[in-house]
Symmetry: C2
Subunit: 191 residues, 2 copies
């Protein structure tokens, strides 16, 4: 998606060979007008699929998932939590997820009330690197007997392999910008 790639080049900050920091428009500070354009594009890419619920993971998936849920005319949006607060008293599904940026494993959870066997889920996240978060969310859906209809990331770091692994397993995965590699401080997108 061209406007996204241009924005990543313009405002993204390359750190080393594997991190692209986009917190001036995608995390921390959000350009919601850009988000709206991304939401429309995600809706377009899954227009042939029947979807009844959006699933994401806290924190940075929530804003883009909100915009997508609105774009679908108001689908329920569920986000998995990384910690269990004292008010989360329901039975929940859980799965381990390793954070690439934080280097820690957390348990992600979602209340059993919010994933049903009848659900047809579109999973959304901001970044796709090794695929850990996606696999965690897929696991939550499987535990609930819900069907994973599609996966979508805003930015896929192709060189970290998670996306290719998911596609090889037959998932319909879309990424709005695919970073092939980071070379000499420059971002190279997949053609």
């Amino acid at each position: 998606m061209q406007i996204l790639e241009e924005r990543i080049v313009q405002d993204g900050l390359v750190i080393g060979t594997d991190t692209v920091k986009v917190d001036s428009f995608l995390n921390q500070q959000l350009d919601v007008n850009l988000f709206q354009a991304l939401g429309k594009e995600i809706h377009r890419r899954f227009q042939d699929e029947r979807i009844n619920k959006i699933l994401t993971i806290e924190t940075s998936g929530i804003a883009i998932a909100t915009v997508v849920a609105l774009e679908y005319g108001g689908l329920p949006l569920v986000y998995a939590k990384k910690n269990k607060p004292s008010t989360m008293i329901d039975d929940s599904y859980s799965a381990p997820v390793k954070s690439f940026t934080k280097g820690i494993v957390s348990n992600v959870r979602v209340s059993k009330r919010y994933l049903q066997p009848s659900d047809r889920i579109l999973i959304i996240d901001d970044f796709l690197a090794h695929g850990e978060a996606m696999y965690g969310l897929i696991s939550l859906c499987k535990q609930a007997g819900a069907e994973v209809i599609g996966l979508c990331s805003v930015i896929e770091k192709v060189f970290q392999g998670g996306g290719d692994k998911l596609r090889a397993q037959g998932y319909h995965l879309e990424s709005l910008a695919k970073i092939e590699k980071v070379e000499n401080g420059k971002i190279v997108f997949t053609e």
Copy 2:
């Protein structure tokens, strides 16, 4: 706001005398159509104010703040983080915030790049109880020299006193639903 109060009564779960769980529509599972109505109402309540940036705190403030930022035609939305991930390398402002539901003190942070002395800020959060999160966010703004134009919570738990304290200090605080007390498992709203 009547539709919100009705929804809290219909779907909220009262726990003890001070917790109202609304995670079927406001946290964890989000009714984004309701959020859109809330966003319009927040925009209406601050229509006489000049605002150039929305500030919230992760996690549960992000979705409502996203909708409000869109309602304003696309204002920049900044969210304070509760933990410092390895990619957050900038200098940041920080303030301690005690979480009512989790019972822990965390440091909230925002990169110095995203709060400026010229900013006129509307602070948004989902719940207002003792006011800890609001005071933390106000502190971040003060450190940056930014002006806090208004504060808005979706649900204020009036009996926990944070809202009255903030109003007494002269802040323009709006809350879309004000819970006066929880009595015998029933929610009583402020008239």
